[in-house]
Symmetry: C2
Subunit: 336 residues, 2 copies
């Protein structure tokens, strides 16, 4: 941890890919009962994503949601909600203004923004506005008129996760929750499935890894990159999704899992993900609204001090911040 | 919250005093059973405090502790522990190296450091090494060989409280806990007691404000500054202390309360302090070791959503970080 500040200016010496995603979720309040964010035309979405520096790879829709697998992660658009998650060195914040402007045209003038991300391995490789969390906060402050609150969970000088959330406008109650698990330094044997040389396509990798069994009813849109790397969006039920993104390479392997489904037992889900990917380190966050069905989930997660195979909890934070219930935890595997 | 980054470069336009203290607590592990930090000679303590930019105003001792009221806050030295708390624009970190060197001479080669502080109103007025939390972390990283973990509780872009704690060496278990309550924007009527024009001396201010009734058995060393401002150290029992520091002036009024006494009911204590000082905003932190007697205190504090007179909880964080139990909360008074 010497020269912590200088670490932020490091540049990778060899090939490197930043798996850590920027994640923005915007909930809109409709001025008219027939407003629908899914009426943003596809070519406008493509233009917005151009500014972020990513492209649509495939699309999947149900009656509640349009889901897009992107060249760098995922986009979900439902009637009142946009979720954009992008990895690498994408400029996610470039999507903020055009999405807000489009939403306004469609009759959504009020909104609540959630923005979160794990620390970057190489912040200096990011667009300037993403190089540190304070720069990101400033970007929001300059673009929007609502107050946002910024938090960092975990260790500022080691593993940590940032959250920025704006004050909630008067809007209908949401029975919502988001669980995200971020895994680092993975079992390279298990990562083999996510190389083109070992799996035929996305569907093949999904089956081989067992991802298809996580939410058996989910409709899955998956993609296997050349020569390696994997993305999937799954539509579970109504506006409930899961999404998984995998950077399998040694030295910077990374897996993220995210779902807004009200999972009955998050401990069981975590165990499944640990068995599936075998990380040496992982962190998770569970955010829920007051009226979410999973409030008991926070209590149960508070008792998870360890997991089999030597995972020990390093940090645990249970919070009510900006009227949200939140649990953050960070685990490290001590083998032997 | 516009231009958050620029706010950090602000300079006060009128007279201002930074009440927010830097607080460092170091626990030492003795190499020999007769090592005692209280054998640091007084003239050496004076020299160390010179580097911090503060002076001893008075001293009070019992069989367990030497307590010093300083020109800027307080110092407590017991056999294995040093607590230094300094406000204003003092350079607290300058005391780290000389204290560690002295401790080593006396037979203490291992230690655990706790460093914490609220955000500053005017960071740009502080010594360079204290201007932001990352600079403080770097200062520790450059001076010591043990790993430290850094956390920020509350809102990075508004009210927050920073904690840096080094990994605990193998040392005897501690039944210890520290409760700190930091109050801002106080009732100016109640602040009148802490002006020389209204109170004769420290003892007079202590009685008038009711501070003498907080811990009835405590032996008190109090001081009333000219023209205003108040500091007190109280020795409760063995190595248990309380300390209160008051900046009463309108525009930047500030009160801090701290004790390591295992308080039976922290909610009652908070109510007493609110009645005594009438802040518009306050935050508190409770840190305890695993074997502290007050583990139930965290649970009780988690249920305090509000206090009478309109105090509403804005943020609450209950954590286990670096093997410490910690509760942080921030309240704001919404009058009417």
């Amino acid at each position: 941890m010497k020269d912590f500040k200088n670490q932020n200016n490091r540049i990778p010496q060899d090939y490197f890919f930043e798996g850590s995603e920027k994640l923005m979720e915007i909930w809109f309040k409709a001025d008219h009962h027939n407003s629908d964010l899914r009426s943003i035309p596809r070519n406008s979405i493509v233009e917005i994503l151009d500014k972020v520096n990513c492209q649509i790879i495939s699309q999947l829709s149900n009656d509640f949601m349009d889901s897009y697998v992107l060249s760098e992660s995922s986009l979900f658009i439902s009637r009142h909600r946009i979720i954009l998650k992008t990895c690498g060195t994408t400029f996610l914040l470039n999507a903020l203004k055009p999405f807000l402007e489009y939403a306004k045209l469609l009759g959504f003038s009020e909104y609540q923004i959630f923005y979160s991300r794990r620390r970057f391995e190489y912040p200096a490789c990011q667009p300037l506005a993403h190089q540190d969390f304070y720069a990101e906060i400033d970007h929001f402050d300059n673009l929007i008129n609502v107050k946002g609150n910024a938090y960092t969970f975990g260790r500022l000088n080691d593993e940590c996760w940032n959250l920025y959330v704006t004050e909630k406008p008067m809007m209908p109650e949401r029975w919502d929750q988001t669980f995200e698990m971020i895994m680092m330094d993975l079992d390279l044997e298990k990562m083999r499935n996510f190389y083109r040389i070992n799996s035929r396509d996305g569907a093949d990798a999904t089956r081989k890894s067992g991802i298809d069994k996580l939410f058996p009813g989910a409709v899955i849109d998956d993609f296997l990159f050349e020569p390696c790397g994997y993305s999937m969006n799954g539509l579970i039920d109504e506006d409930k999704y899961l999404t998984i993104h995998i950077t399998p390479e040694k030295g910077f392997s990374y897996v993220s899992f995210e779902t807004n489904y009200a999972v009955k037992d998050y401990i069981e889900l975590i165990k499944k993900l640990l068995d599936m990917f075998g990380p040496m380190k992982f962190l998770f966050s569970l955010i829920s609204e007051e009226c979410s069905q999973i409030s008991d989930g926070h209590r149960k997660l508070s008792k998870a001090y360890s997991f089999r195979n030597g995972y020990m909890r390093k940090d645990w934070q249970r919070c009510v911040v900006s009227d949200l219930d939140l649990t953050f935890a960070y685990f490290v595997c001590n083998p032997g």
